[in-house]
Symmetry: C2
Subunit: 284 residues, 2 copies
Amino acid sequence: MRVGYLGPAATFTHLAVSSCFQNGAEHVAYRTIPECIDAAVAGEVDFAFVPLENALEGSVNLTIDYLIHEQPLPIVGEMTLPIHQHLLVHPSRENAWKELDKIYSHSHAIAQCHKFLHRQFPSVPYEYANSTGAAAKFVSDHPELNIGVIANDMAASTYELKIVKRDIQDYRDNHTRFVILSPDENISFEVNSKLSSRPKTTLMVMLPQDESGALHRVLSAFSWRNLNLSKIESRPTKTGLGHYFFIIDIEKAFDEVLIPGAMQELEALGCKVKLLGAYQSYQL
Amino acid sequence: MRVGYLGPAATFTHLAVSSCFQNGAEHVAYRTIPECIDAAVAGEVDFAFVPLENALEGSVNLTIDYLIHEQPLPIVGEMTLPIHQHLLVHPSRENAWKELDKIYSHSHAIAQCHKFLHRQFPSVPYEYANSTGAAAKFVSDHPELNIGVIANDMAASTYELKIVKRDIQDYRDNHTRFVILSPDENISFEVNSKLSSRPKTTLMVMLPQDESGALHRVLSAFSWRNLNLSKIESRPTKTGLGHYFFIIDIEKAFDEVLIPGAMQELEALGCKVKLLGAYQSYQL
């Protein structure tokens, strides 16, 4: 079994892949989310494993938009992982970490540690990397530079960096949701036996036109069936400001009556409706 | 009159400030959105001018989150600007632009030109800068590097770069909304007389708890009053995955009956409701 993920090695996505799948799965790193999804479409890997939403920073828009506009792969699973951010430096600079010239990481990681950075390093500039893993690799490759990186434990061990300050994220309850995508919506796979799971269904709904109360009517279709929505997210359709589609998560397995009934009614009212996935949500 | 904006010079925010205000306003660049908002709170500038939403990439989460969680400044105006992205190089490299080593820009600008880059530069790596203006300045300062930058006309003239390919954004209807913030919600200011305007009201609503149908009931309060919502956006409350607040835009001036009535009812139902601004939305 081959699992493509948003690389390089030791990103949070890599950590999630390692926590989710049983030993024996081969992990293949991709440079970007679209490349990872494309690889699953092309059959290079059986699954694409990419981030979807962070508890602090919100949705990973690139994943949602690529699935909706470019490559409509079904969601076959979801994994939720707690996020612990640490400050790492090159081992040769372990004792000088309070006088860094620059801090390097993914923009989300920097945002998640905003208060810590503001307090501890008020005048140190930061720079965005494509991922926490890429930032850690850069710091490891450049011992001559006096820079720190925000990344996870796996990055510290993979790139032989020193953790000088643990758990620097501003909020404790920081989690990220990752989705597992596959061209085969009925594919079966074994996960780590320590994970708990619950069923979920995700739909995309596009309203017929900009009319007062259209979203209200859409939500009515779920509300009167007692279908609890755990999330509703609006994203632009890319046809101009003010035009949106909605991603709706239902805390329920896809059944034969209630969810299909809601979908049919919404279509009859002129909405475009699509099942993005009916799957298990895993967590440690 | 002093207007703080997300700098450096020649960002799209700077272009929007220049298009919005009458001559005579002093423009003050800030390095980040929080610093710009903080400057308005501290009275260093009369207004903070920052991006809120792009038609392709969606909301600028940092602006929304900083207003909700850190500095609750009222919205006193809004400006919508069409976005044209161009490929710029150092003038000494004008004839060699098809063999770039790297492309540098803000992550949103790179995302907006994804198809162009995929087609024209399939194997050229890109790197994220803090802004399109900062990326243009870097390319201008480093003629020895063979890199291209995605930025606007103002960046080309400010940093003396050469536009080698115009309008490379993937979608034509690309606009960005900017908000004008001020500690004085009744502040008056003159805008460019060529701008058209319409009234808008923006609210924040936090649901009482995770209960089935809560959002449906919130939308009912607007729907039965025929208050047309042009946008509803969910953002995480930062207290854990699955907890959201909602930003709601109403296409109507704040009145004395309908909107206050809806707000009072929502509060009586246990929601937290806040008026973020009642203002004019300007466009060219």
